[in-house]
């Protein structure tokens, strides 16, 4: 069974939802404090949403100095799945594990609504179970979801197949309508929408399970542990 660590920073608030949703996807997940330097015997790690360290200075700016982040970076280097959801995505960009930055939403409103996203690439640990071009309905819940990078980075993201999900109706001003990106290898993924909130029939959508379920299917998970 695939085992993932879910890192809890002070201010993280989606960790239990993520653990439950991963459970629905057949993945065993354990909460790990951001103070830990070892994440345990796990195949990968998820940085859940919330407001790590109160989003002081910038979302993710302080969280990236947490002791657990060295272990997260080590897993990323090994090719193990490293997924940042919402605030976790912001942490991954601040930590330099993903390019770009997430700025305040263009309309200056906190957005909490379902959005439709298109799966652009299926070569990542989070989209291996999806079809290219597939549409997913996922909830967003963010104030800083406006993915921003320079023109050269955006061109490279597209050229290297690092754009994972795009919004059909861009809600926040993201460059390239980007909702999720990955590193070159496809094992580090940052996603603004919340797949864990679309992972149970009671929640109205199971689309998020296709994403989280992909984490169980990845062969690199087993080979890298």
């Amino acid at each position: 069974m695939t085992k993932l660590a879910v890192v809890v920073f002070p201010g993280t608030n989606c960790e239990h939802d993520v653990v439950m949703a991963l459970g629905n996807a057949g993945i065993e997940a354990t909460l790990v404090s951001h103070r830990e330097t070892h994440l345990g015997d796990v195949d990968g790690v998820v940085l859940p949403g919330g407001f790590a360290h109160g989003d002081y200075l910038r979302p993710g700016a302080i969280a990236r100095f947490s002791p657990a982040m060295d272990a997260v970076a080590a897993l990323a280097r090994e090719g193990a799945p490293v997924v940042g959801i919402c605030n976790g995505f912001q942490v991954l960009t601040e930590a330099g594990l993903l390019p770009g930055a997430l700025r305040r939403n263009e309309g200056l409103r906190f957005l909490c609504q379902p959005v439709r996203c298109r799966v652009v690439t299926t070569r990542t640990v989070l989209t291996a179970g999806c079809r290219a071009g597939e549409l997913l309905e996922l909830p967003i819940n963010h104030n800083e979801g406006n993915f921003t990078c320079d023109a050269e980075t955006l061109r490279r993201l597209a050229a290297e197949d690092q754009i994972v999900l795009t919004y059909l109706d861009n809600p926040n001003g993201s460059d390239g309508d980007i909702a999720a990106i990955c590193n070159k290898r496809g094992n580090v993924v940052g996603i603004m929408p919340h797949p864990e909130r679309a992972s149970d029939v009671l929640l109205g959508s199971l689309d998020g399970l296709k994403l989280l379920g992909s984490l169980a299917k990845n062969d690199r998970v087993a080979s890298s542990s």
Binding site: L57, A61, E94, A101, R103, R104, E106, G107, T148, D150
Partner: protein, 94 residues
């Protein structure tokens, strides 16, 4: 020596600043005409020990690069002033 450091962080030129734009649109409503290029940022102030002003500025710039600003979207302006021996409360003398 002790220095007062003043760091001003603002959106990079070319990066949209919707808050600055909103302020720019609001000012004429109060009769303040002719205002252009409003940029909203934040200020970080602190005191720091350093051998001289040059060294203090060098360290502050490095702090901006590594923490205080995100170079992907923000720029930072640093100014440094030597503090006298007699400081008053939190007044950094800037």
């Amino acid at each position: 020596m002790r220095f007062a450091v003043h760091v001003e962080v603002s959106p990079l030129e070319g990066i949209a600043d919707p808050e600055g734009e909103t302020i720019e649109r609001a000012l004429p409503a109060l009769g303040f005409e002719g205002v252009r290029h409003v940029r909203l940022g934040k200020v970080v102030r602190f005191e720091m020990d350093a051998d001289d002003a040059e060294r203090a500025e060098e360290r502050a710039v490095e702090m901006c690069r590594r923490l205080l600003a995100n170079p992907v979207i923000e720029q930072a302006d640093v100014s440094v002033a030597a503090l006298g021996d007699r400081r008053q409360g939190s007044d950094l003398g800037l």
